[in-house]
Symmetry: C2
Subunit: 220 residues, 2 copies
Amino acid sequence: MTEMTHEETAPTERTVIRRYGWLAKYDKETIYSILDAGLVCHIAYVIDGQPFVTPTNYWRVNDHVYWHGSAASRMLKGQASGIPICFSVTHFDGVVIARAAFNHNINFRSIMAFGNAELLDAEAKRVALKAFSDRVMPGLWEHARQPTEKEWKVTSVLRLPLNEVSAKVRTGPPIDDEEDYALESWAGVIPVNSVLGAVEPDPKLRPEIQMPGFVSKFRL
Amino acid sequence: MTEMTHEETAPTERTVIRRYGWLAKYDKETIYSILDAGLVCHIAYVIDGQPFVTPTNYWRVNDHVYWHGSAASRMLKGQASGIPICFSVTHFDGVVIARAAFNHNINFRSIMAFGNAELLDAEAKRVALKAFSDRVMPGLWEHARQPTEKEWKVTSVLRLPLNEVSAKVRTGPPIDDEEDYALESWAGVIPVNSVLGAVEPDPKLRPEIQMPGFVSKFRL
């Protein structure tokens, strides 16, 4: 994987990185751990000069990220036509309150990847969608009704090679200007976490059907 | 506000909406409540034919969304140059497990807005950044050290009028094909919530400085 910082791919960010002391991390382990912590990405692409950004589910297998959708979708058709795309994942981890208004911030982990998406063929599509199911909940694929030929046909899967990818991470307490530590202002972090609520069985679930173990074991 | 569905602004989504029974909502109240529930958006824009998508903080005042950054940022300079942008907010609310693999889904609330950003002048910038602080935590602006003239100068604020904006929302249990309700498969929803962790005072905080009430009152 070609490792690039946000600075190299998006020079626009350089000042921001310096200003806030954000850490541009770009080792493969960091990047993959951020990708593997999420289920929703934002993909930007251009059609007729108009940028679009679409939230969608994604998953990673080795050095690619994958997403899927309706084969009739103009978005997927456009993305599969070889146009450049920008793939982004962001985890919002906390609100950072500094002593000075200028130094408030947020804690976050984010990924940005650039490249051209590939449309998977029928065989690769089946492998990829089972991998998605397994990534969400091992056991779910075997438990649910398998797709019909018609369902397979109307589903497309795309993938992006992680060749140009960078991570940006901010963690920890606020960073204030040296002289501001003498102020009377409070400073600290309010962490933000994604947590699971109590499982809600489908109201139409037949009462004799028990919740499978893979559902209760699910973690984000 | 011109109200548009995702279908009108992004025809690519139409099939997806129909397929999954997602509800395209576009009344102002729904759109504003989704916007006001978030602090992080994704903004797509094009520079030299390359799409970028940048996560950033945002806030809403009346019929505009606002965001800020370094005045030296190529991203903000590009966005302020009158190019079309796409603004997106997504809340991931749950994992929807259906009886058929094809009908798994997620619950979510999302906003998509299109238009051209405006760069605020010096006076409007001050009003907007105080509004951002007040939106996050009323009382924070008065508590923290105010920006210096130099800090004001290196900060830019942009805004986008909410003229072309749509919401898409999926809530509730899975929707399976009629014949699949007879299967032995479990079905239901695992809710996902953003929650606050215990406040972490800055390790460098002087011990006599108490946590202000607006910090303990903060909610997402």
